[in-house]
């Protein structure tokens, strides 16, 4: 029997060894749930540790019993099977005994979990309320008490960058030490706004509102992403929160509002823009909002997202109204979103102009903000 036991052992060593070796090779391994940075996630983390420890003990017991049996009750060792074992007192009572033990473990875990669950579902008054809207494939944050709106898009980085797929162009900014309520919804399909350090997840459902909350204890930047499969761009939808002190937060709000007012004034003025300006602005809007699907070269993805380069609509002067309509209103039943509510007149004018003049497209018109205002 020895050779077989040897086989067992060597198997163990090989797996264990491979694992140890690889963990030494890279010290930055994360083994456990992300360290919590809010009161609520701390509570959840403790619950997680409780179940992990109970589970580990149970596994140790089961493994121990099996190993004991494997060593002692082997045919090769001359073990004689006890044909009446199941008829003894143990055989008659084990089916009560074991469920009772399991039940008591279960109830311990369930009661602790139930109290944490009540914290998760508590609806105390919040200091800040943010509406988190998922859409293919970016996050929009609206501060419900202030006139601030943030659109968070993936920041394109090389796959070697430490923040690859973990960074956005414009993160959500929140104060520490305040109760923040999140209202979650979606504009197209299911999404799931998840940042394990600070919030328990609830999914973003189109047409419905879900709620979750946080009270961040440490300043810092917290990174998560979309956790509900939302199609092509699902892997490219990071969610980033920058937590700052309450004073810094107030300052940030003032600056932010000033910026927003300025760009809104600019966009709605009936100014007539020059081609170079529209093209530059249009390219920026395109890169931020459209590139994920229609691609940098305007070729789209065949069979999935239509090409804009050489498209019938973008090369035909008669189709200008259709072009504007599809950007403003979207296309039902496809991933093409309605951009009207999300972008201002100037942005849409610029991006339509860009699409009609880039990648060798020939229609060539300049679209002005007032054309969009008329088309809305």
């Amino acid at each position: 029997m020895l050779p077989r036991r040897d086989k067992c052992l060597s198997a163990l060593f090989i797996t264990g060894g491979a694992w140890l070796f690889s963990s030494m090779a890279h010290a930055a391994y994360e083994y456990n749930l992300t360290p919590p940075a809010s009161t609520l996630t701390q509570e959840i983390f403790d619950l997680h540790m409780l179940t992990t420890i109970v589970g580990t003990i149970i596994m140790a017991l089961v493994t121990g019993m099996i190993i004991y049996a494997l060593i002692n009750f082997r045919h090769a060792k001359g073990a004689i099977p006890d044909q009446e074992f199941h008829n003894g007192w143990f055989g008659r009572w084990a089916w009560v005994l074991v469920p009772v033990i399991v039940l008591s473990i279960d109830l311990t875990i369930a009661s602790s979990a139930s109290s944490t669950l009540s914290s998760v579902e508590s609806h105390d008054k919040a200091d800040v309320t943010v509406k988190v809207i998922g859409s293919q494939w970016k996050w929009t944050y609206e501060y419900m008490d202030d006139d601030i709106k943030i659109v968070s898009n993936l920041k394109k980085l090389e796959p070697t960058d430490p923040l690859y797929l973990r960074d956005v162009d414009d993160p959500l900014v929140l104060p520490t030490g305040k109760r923040v309520r999140f209202l979650l919804t979606s504009s197209d399909v299911l999404h799931n706004w998840g940042i394990a350090e600070i919030v328990p997840k609830k999914i973003n459902i189109p047409g419905y509102i879900n709620e979750t909350w946080t009270n961040i204890t440490k300043e810092g930047t917290y990174r998560g992403q979309c956790y509900e499969n939302c199609g092509t761009g699902h892997a490219f939808m990071p969610a980033v929160v920058r937590a700052v002190s309450p004073t810094e937060y107030e300052q940030w709000k003032v600056t932010r509002k000033a910026q927003q007012a300025q760009s809104a004034a600019e966009a709605s003025a009936d100014k007539v823009w020059a081609k170079a300006e529209l093209m530059a602005k249009g390219e920026a809007v395109y890169t931020k909002n459209c590139l994920a699907c229609h691609q940098a070269n305007g070729q789209g993805l065949p069979g999935v997202f239509p090409a804009l380069a050489g498209s019938k609509i973008a090369n035909n002067t008669a189709a200008l109204a259709d072009h504007i309509a599809i950007v403003v209103k979207g296309k039902a039943g496809t991933a093409m979103a309605a951009w009207g509510p999300q972008l201002n007149d100037l942005d849409i004018a610029a991006v339509v102009t860009y699409e009609r003049n880039a990648w060798g497209n020939t229609a060539g018109e300049l679209v002005q903000p007032k054309d969009i205002k008329a088309a809305r």
């Binding site: 797996t15 083994y31 996630t41 589970g55 494997l70 009750f73 199609g231």
Partner: protein
């Protein structure tokens, strides 16, 4: 009891028809069982190839091999093929082969229906394959089926024509499962030999009895859900569209009302196999046979009422969430009871370690581990952190591969001598066991870590902090995939020849519950029992 042994000599005109007709028109439970098993084997490689593609793509950060949509299409079909094309047909193949022989019946109760339920499967497989290629071959084919096997709307409403093929494939698979289940229940209730009371049936027969009942109860719900999806897609209804007064979450409830019991559909037949394998090689009757039968009943019943633990994050009421949490945690009771019974069956036994037994022991250990992570996931607030991460992927592969697939391997090795009349190569069997077990753990254990660290599932690309764990996983995955070539080789080798198997190939066969299969020669005659054996 041994009438059948000599019976087929003077009834040659009853023998199998020759050529392709033997298979296409077959109403013979063993031939249909064989076809089910080969179909499952084929699908194992098909679904496995998709898993290999997935692991190759995830080997390192960056999108290397194909588009995100193709990746998600592979994730979807990998799951559908493994669940509906591999595990269920393999278990059904074993049911077809073994149940009539175990209960002393000449065949299944409804042989022609049996033929139909098998042949629906290849049809469904073709539809499934069409769903993959359809977006590329039809003009305006739209997005591939990129939703994952849960097919959640509204994303599934956005998908292209491939989704319609998937829906029809699911309809076909569903009809096949329901017909097969009706047949199995009818056979078990009506075809038992005199004296074979329900409480004398081998555990495998009981396991399939509950499985079949579950299938009959839940498959129609899935069929209904995907039909509603089809209507939303093409006929202007809005069952799942809030803008039209519907509810996207309704689909989730319907899906998981099917989906959670489905997990037990995959699991129970393997538990049934364990209930034969462990006593055989421990040379000692099953500990707690009755407790196991009732335990399986409780498991099946509880399994029907906890579906929403897959949806803790949809925003349910506190009361509903608490109910689903406690219900789910309570499932650990029947599961714990089963595992206990298997451990105590080995206790004070006299064990040998042939391949089926090795798989049996590995199942007890690794399935316990899946149970432990299952309890972790049942705890709602913690699940809000784990939900849709690789931790979940690790958990369910620990449940499905040891819990379902290893049980099927144990069954294959246990019954190969009976099916083919030849002993398989024990040495190769053991190599296969160690190879799969080690590579399986190498593949899925690290995913617990990457999941806890926050890596979402169903993503084509990930940030570099998850690289190492994914590389280990991928290497493990390739080794696991490769091991199945050995499996194939062992099976072919056994079919083609090898030591002759006696009627009772295992010393401990038939200790405990008296299955009648060992009273037949190996391989059994074309008509298993032509005169009913009597049990005292």
């Amino acid at each position: 009891m041994s009438v059948a042994t000599t019976h087929d000599h003077h009834h040659d005109h009853h023998g199998p028809p020759r050529g392709w007709q033997r298979w296409v028109y077959s109403t013979n439970h063993k031939d249909i069982g064989t076809m089910y098993l080969f179909f499952a084997l084929f699908m194992l490689f098909f679904g496995g190839a998709m898993a290999m593609y997935i692991r190759a793509e995830l080997f390192m950060p960056g999108v290397q091999l194909a588009s995100p949509d193709f990746y998600n299409n592979m994730v979807t079909d990998h799951a559908l093929v493994m669940v509906f094309g591999m595990v269920m047909p393999a278990a059904a193949g074993m049911a077809n082969w073994m149940i009539p022989m175990m209960i002393g019946a000449p065949d299944m109760a409804l042989p022609r229906l049996n033929n139909l339920s098998f042949w629906l499967l290849p049809a469904a497989a073709i539809l499934l394959m069409l769903s993959i290629v359809a977006p590329y071959i039809f003009p305006d084919g739209g997005t591939p089926v990129n939703t994952g096997w849960t097919l959640l709307p509204p994303l599934s409403v956005q998908n292209g024509i491939g989704m319609d093929f998937t829906i029809f494939a699911i309809h076909t698979l569903g009809v096949s499962s329901i017909l097969a289940s009706i047949n199995i229940v009818t056979t078990i209730l009506n075809m038992r030999a005199p004296g074979m009371t329900m409480m004398k049936m081998p555990l495998f027969v009981w396991a399939w009895f509950f499985t079949a009942l579950l299938l009959i109860a839940v498959m129609p719900v899935l069929a209904g859900a995907v039909t509603m999806l089809l209507f939303d897609r093409h006929f202007g209804t809005s069952f799942f569209d809030a803008a039209g007064g519907g509810d996207p979450i309704l689909f989730q409830h319907l899906f998981w009302f099917f989906g959670h019991p489905e997990v037990y559909v995959l699991l129970l037949p393997s538990i049934g196999v364990l209930g034969l394998v462990i006593p055989t090689f421990a040379r000692k009757p099953l500990f707690g046979y009755k407790a196991l039968v009732y335990g399986m009943g409780v498991l099946a019943a509880l399994g029907m009422v906890v579906w929403a633990h897959h949806q803790y994050t949809i925003g349910m009421s506190l009361v509903a969430t608490n109910y689903f949490m406690i219900g789910t945690i309570l499932i650990s009771i029947p599961v714990g009871l089963m595992l206990m019974n298997f451990i105590f069956t080995m206790w004070r036994g006299s064990m040998t370690f042939e391949t089926p037994m090795l798989f049996g022991i590995a199942i007890i250990l690794m399935f316990s581990f899946a149970g432990v992570t299952g309890v972790m996931l049942a705890v709602v607030p913690a699940d809000m952190q784990y939900h849709d991460t690789m931790f979940v992927v690790a958990h369910f592969h620990y449940a499905l591969i040891p819990g379902a697939v290893f049980g099927l391997y144990a069954g294959v090795f246990y019954w190969l001598p009976k099916w083919t009349g030849h002993m398989y190569n024990e040495r190769l069997g053991q190599i296969f066991f160690w190879w799969t077990t080690i590579s399986f753990n190498l593949t899925f254990f690290p995913q617990h870590f990457s999941g806890l660290a926050g890596m979402p599932r169903r993503i084509v690309d990930y940030s570099i902090q998850y690289t190492e764990f994914n590389m280990i996983s991928s290497i493990g995955g390739f080794l696991f995939g490769l091991s199945h070539l050995l499996f194939l080789y062992i099976i072919i080798q056994t079919i083609r020849g090898g030591a002759k198997a006696p009627a009772k190939p295992w010393e401990g066969s038939q200790i405990g519950t008296p299955g009648l299969e060992w009273t037949l020669p190996s391989p059994p005659p074309f008509h298993s029992f032509t005169e009913a054996p009597v049990i005292k």
